[in-house]
């Protein structure tokens, strides 16, 4: 195991940014923290990296880390070449040649100032710097933000290849299609808590949609309402036990239902009210 987080809590006065979450990342695994904006993903990562002080809980990190932050801020006054050289001078196990190759591949001019790069190019440069560092865990916070679809696929391919070199990835995103492409394991976060965690296929397999009359209300994830009925996302097992007709759902629907659905603490159970 490369990373273990146990009962992590981080509060800002009355706001529970991270509220007792636990998960672990295995070696050679891509673990995705998924959630809407403000779910607590970035705060979790910052606590893992020691950039924020945790209020409670335990974080065990068994190896070196390379980090791509959510805000892809680099030194604006440096040229791309200088940025690579300075990064090489302060980063352990940094492969400068590899970084120059990445930058060439992305077609970023070395003599250009960082301030002159577009958002997409800055992200590409930052990713090049991070992936040129040899680390046991790569923490990538919204790595494809601001990228066009072609470059995004290139980056996703690079991320997918990380475990083949013996490293792991902790990855955050709110773009579900991306997560489905790269992640082995997923944790869905909302309002500081992990609501669902496990292998992507297992999670998708665990839930289904049921339709109930509008007069009936379930303590489940209400996905949508029509004029005559409510559509709930509930555990397949529970639906079958109660003779509901189970409709398969996509990961997008499950995510949307979990995040936007009812906010009951017992909503996973799918109990009838």
């Amino acid at each position: 195991m490369i990373l273990e987080v146990k009962q992590l809590k981080k509060y800002y006065k009355n706001i529970k940014a991270v509220d007792g979450i636990s998960f672990f990342v295995d070696k050679n695994e891509i673990f995705a923290l998924l959630g809407p904006n403000g779910a607590g993903k970035t705060t979790t990562i910052k606590c893992i990296l020691g950039l924020r002080n945790k209020d409670d809980g335990e974080i065990k990190l068994n190896g070196s880390v390379a980090y791509l932050p959510e805000g892809k801020e680099l030194y604006q006054s440096y040229t791309v070449k200088k940025m690579i050289e300075i990064t090489a001078s302060i980063t352990k196990d940094f492969d400068k040649d590899k970084c120059f190759r990445f930058v060439e591949q992305f077609d970023i001019p070395l003599s250009e100032k960082v301030s002159e790069l577009s958002n997409g190019q800055t992200t590409q440069l930052y990713i090049s710097l991070v992936l040129s560092q040899k680390a046991e865990l790569y923490i990538l916070d919204e790595p494809t933000w601001g990228l066009d679809p072609i470059v995004r696929n290139q980056i996703l391919e690079m991320i997918r290849n990380i475990p083949f070199d013996g490293s792991s990835v902790l990855y955050t995103s709110h773009i579900l299609s991306e997560v489905e492409k790269v992640a082995d394991k997923v944790a869905i976060m909302n309002k500081g808590k992990i609501i669902e965690i496990g292998y992507l296929d297992d999670i998708k397999e665990k839930y289904c949609a049921i339709r109930v009359d509008k007069s009936r209300n379930l303590d489940g994830y209400k996905y949508k309402s029509t004029e005559t009925e409510n559509v709930f996302v509930v555990k397949k097992e529970w639906a079958q036990e109660h003779d509901f007709e189970c409709e398969p759902i996509t990961f997008d629907v499950l995510f949307e239902a979990i995040v936007l659905g009812n906010n009951s603490s017992s909503n996973i159970r799918g109990e009838e009210q």
């Binding site: 390379a66 980090y67 801020e73 680099l74 030194y75 604006q76 300075i86 990064t87 001078s89 980063t91």
Partner: protein, 249 residues
């Protein structure tokens, strides 16, 4: 530290050039200055500020260069140089969002050490150069200069600069943008200087020390004040270090 020196290069060069220009519009013009002031002799307004005895003393190289360089131009700039060297050290990284870039690559102790030392080394080099300028100039142009006095001024310059460097470094750690540590540093300098006018609070006026009052009056370093400045500076550095170790990014 390579990165830190690279980041500071504009400030180091800017301050050094300013000081050199300031020195060279002052040192070679002793005769011109004195003759200009003599032209005003007899003017009662000027007599108030520059009595005849003072004018005569300005004709003597040691008094001229010490009073005009250490006691005026360079002396007045010492606290400001300390502030300029320290204010963006940490706050610029936080404001620009690059502090995380550093902290995931190096531990906090090293980041603090590198920033602190780079600023300090730059400050010391600038202050030593500026303090030695009268000695170097006197040597090159065969002026009769008492070097030991220059060394005494150097001690005052270094520790006055150190004090303001430490105060502003603390502000730089505490604040999350560059403007606040600069304003807080300058504000503290203004407040302490004004407060120092009140007799019981005169210890707060660091300008009396920076300009070398005791060297002019007693030809000696103010040892007590120097020790006090060192203690206060070290305490402030420790506080800044501890705050930085816990600071949330």
């Amino acid at each position: 530290m390579k990165k830190e020196f690279y980041d500071m290069r504009v400030r180091i060069i800017g301050v050094t050039i300013t000081l050199l220009v300031l020195f060279f519009v002052l040192a070679p013009f002793q005769k011109f200055t004195v003759s200009m002031l003599e032209g005003y002799s007899g003017n009662p307004q000027l007599e108030k500020f520059l009595p005849g005895s003072m004018l005569n003393r300005l004709k003597e190289w040691n008094f001229y260069i010490n009073s005009q360089w250490f006691g005026k131009n360079f002396g007045q700039m010492i606290p400001i140089i300390g502030i300029i060297m320290a204010f963006p050290l940490f706050s610029r990284e936080i404001e620009n969002g690059t502090m995380a870039f550093l902290l995931v690559r190096r531990n906090r102790k090293l980041v603090f050490r590198d920033k602190f030392l780079t600023g300090l080394i730059s400050l010391v080099l600038i202050l030593v150069l500026a303090s030695l300028l009268p000695i170097i100039y006197s040597f090159l142009f065969n002026k009769d200069y008492r070097y030991i006095t220059g060394i005494k001024f150097l001690v005052h310059s270094l520790f006055a600069g150190l004090l303001w460097y430490s105060i502003t470094l603390l502000y730089s750690v505490v604040f999350d943008d560059q403007v606040k540590p600069l304003l807080a540093g300058l504000g503290t300098l203004a407040i302490t200087t004004v407060a120092g006018i009140i007799k019981p609070l005169r210890i707060l006026n660091t300008y009396a020390y920076a300009l070398g009052n005791t060297i002019f009056q007693k030809n000696s370093i103010d040892l007590k004040y120097t020790i006090g400045v060192i203690i206060v500076s070290v305490l402030i550095f420790i506080v800044a270090y501890r705050i930085f170790l816990k600071k949330e990014i």
